[in-house]
């Protein structure tokens, strides 16, 4: 009897060791970033230095915005608490270096997805959380209502280190207009200089123009021209070389968008567990093993929806209700005539 007991315990021990070994290697194999994040207890997220609606800190240091919500969603999925995020404000110039050097793990900072950024500098874009385009802002009393009224000698304030600088050149060159670019490192200085009258126009992504307009001395003195001169698909970015982490961020964003598609909100998510629609059940962790592939439990997506809300809730809270861009435009679900179309969670 004693002999068997001993054998049994050793067998258990062997299994325990084996099991421990497998879970350890699974987590380790899964993702170094995930492991580090779980060890630290917070998600390290790079955001802007203050862009209302996207990532903006209030007086007490609470960050809000649609870009912020992507990081909060990842924290909810990975750590179980959407508030476990450490935000690092970055200038356009610093952002990619901060990500590739490992100072942050997600860059969610109204960043345009382009070929050269995706392919060349060690970054991977995981999706699009805002469809934007570059536009121009002018003073209302200038009488300019269209970019076709721009004349030789116009000066344009903008940020350095953005696609804006390149688009601006393409635009003015194609129109044959000579212009003076005045490029600043930080957005606040761009706004201050334009507001003071240094430039005739201020150009950046239209969402940025709408958001920065709220910061001006007299927002009503300025208008955003109707023309859009570029495609600016903005989305979160991760480092190249950690496929699992990349998937976690991608599907955290996708979950928010798909949840809106199926009408799952932060308030009704729990009750959706008993839904008859298997697609809805998968999105709230009531069917399938949707988290296992990432090394996460099954309710990771439910937590995202409950704690952060679906994309529509995030948009309403951050961008529509704050008066920045009440009209969702292309950032509407594909079922409602917009561009938001994500692969299915299954």
């Amino acid at each position: 009897m004693f002999k068997y007991l001993k054998q049994l315990t050793s067998m258990v021990a062997v299994f325990a060791v084996l099991f421990a070994f497998t879970t350890e290697t699974m987590a380790a194999k899964k993702s170094k970033t995930l492991k580090n994040t779980q060890k630290k207890g917070f998600v390290r997220c790079g955001v802007s230095q203050g862009l209302p609606g996207f990532s903006n800190a209030d007086a007490s240091g609470n960050w809000t915005g649609v870009d912020v919500d992507v990081c909060r969603a990842v924290a909810a999925a990975v750590l179980g608490d959407a508030n476990k995020v450490k935000f690092t404000p970055l200038s356009a110039k610093e952002r990619f270096t901060a990500l590739t050097s490992g100072e942050i793990d997600i860059l969610s900072r109204n960043t345009t997805w382009t070929l050269s950024r995706d392919a060349d500098i060690g970054l991977t874009f995981v999706g699009i959380n805002f469809y934007d385009g570059q536009g121009f802002m002018v003073r209302k009393d200038s009488g300019i209502t269209s970019t076709s009224q721009f004349k030789n000698g116009i000066s344009a304030c903008t940020n350095i280190g953005t696609t804006t600088e390149l688009n601006m050149r393409d635009f003015f060159n194609s129109k044959g207009i000579s212009y003076t670019p005045v490029a600043f490192e930080k957005a606040d200085e761009v706004v201050a200089a334009y507001d003071a009258g240094r430039c005739d126009t201020y150009t950046t992504d239209k969402s940025g123009l709408a958001a920065q307009r709220t910061k001006m001395a007299n927002p009503d003195d300025h208008i955003v021209l109707p023309e859009t001169i570029s495609k600016e698909p903005l989305g979160p970015v991760v480092r190249q070389g950690d496929a699992v982490w990349e998937d976690i961020v991608r599907w955290s964003l996708n979950t928010m968008i798909e949840a809106e598609e199926y009408g799952i909100t932060s308030s009704n998510a729990d009750s959706m567990k008993t839904s008859k629609n298997p697609q809805i059940k998968r999105l709230v962790g009531a069917e399938g093993e949707m988290g296992a592939a990432f090394g996460l439990d099954n309710e990771w997506n439910l937590r995202i929806i409950k704690q952060v809300g679906n994309y529509g809730e995030s948009y309403k809270r951050n961008i529509a209700d704050t008066g920045i861009l009440p009209d969702r435009g292309p950032n509407q679900l594909w079922t409602k005539g917009g561009l938001l179309y994500v692969p299915p969670s299954r």
């Binding site: 600088e165 670019p181 005045v182 600043f184 490192e185 005739d200």
Partner: protein
Amino acid sequence: MKTKKILPQLLTLLFIVLIFGFFTMNAQENMDTRGIEFGFSFLKQEASFDIQFSLIDYDGSMSYARAYLVGLLNTLLVSFIGIILCTILGALVGIARLSPNYLIRKTATFYIEFFRNIPLLLQIFFWYFAALRALPMPEDAPLLLGSSFLTIKGLYTPAPVWNNLDIFMITLIIALILIFFFNKYAKKKQEEDGTQYPKFFISLAIFVLLPATTFLIGGVDLSFSFPVLKQLALTAFTFEGGMGIPPELIALTLALTLYTATFIAENVRAGIQGIGKGQKEAAASIGLTPSQVLKLVIMPQALRIIIPPTTNQYLNLTKNSSLAAAIAYPDLVLVFAGTAMMQTGRAIEIVAITMATYLTISLAISALMNWYNKRIAIQEK
């Protein structure tokens, strides 16, 4: 005995090499896993961004190497102007600090204490944004000196339009060479038989008259293009033609000059006060005039005290000019370590080039100042 001397140095060297090697390998490995390649071939690619202000011909269809050159020249420009202005202002304020006049002395002291104790970046922002707010829009700008306009969009002055500029420049160089030899001759003559020429006036005459003759016989011609107000829209105006100096350059030069001049002023004061009273009295007792005392006795000795710390200030000014990025002056940091780095993603290469560039500029200024310092040092015969 010898090994005892060499061994610690060898170990230190080995340690440094190992650390350097470790960092290189580490960077290499990290770059490999993230799929980043190292190389300088990006310098030949098209930059495809425009720059506000350039001393050389540039547009976005040129290469990153050309953009680098634009940034470098802009850095050198603001450093050069800054060094000259802060030297003049510093010398004046330094002398004013020792003035017997109470008001002048206290004003100089107040200026020094005020400007050297406020962070430079704040001063740059102050001059930029305060000046921007204070300056008039182009359409309201008053005429300055009959032909210039100082507006929120910059200072617009007449631009010289040259014909046969090369002939003029060659004559100018010939004039400088002539002045150099004339001064040498005048010095020799004075040492031989005591003849004194009015060196300054003759030099000035050569410098002015010789190039001036090219206007008469060399086919050199100078005219000016004047800035003209142009309406862009109902309330938007700008100036066309002439030469436009961006407000960013003006604000940056102003801030760098006012800040650095305070330190130079203190160096000048220290230099003058470092010369014993007896020197001045002895010089006066052998019959030198007060201006000769200053020129021949006090300044040569004071300069020896002033030059080395002033060299540091020149280096500081040059390095501080990199704060330009904050106010959109397209210097090396903004253009190359800013936009170019962002567009290419070549952080390591670009930061390395930028560091090497600043190092080279600093070493060059140092070398020049050391050469000058040696020249004015006591020469034992």
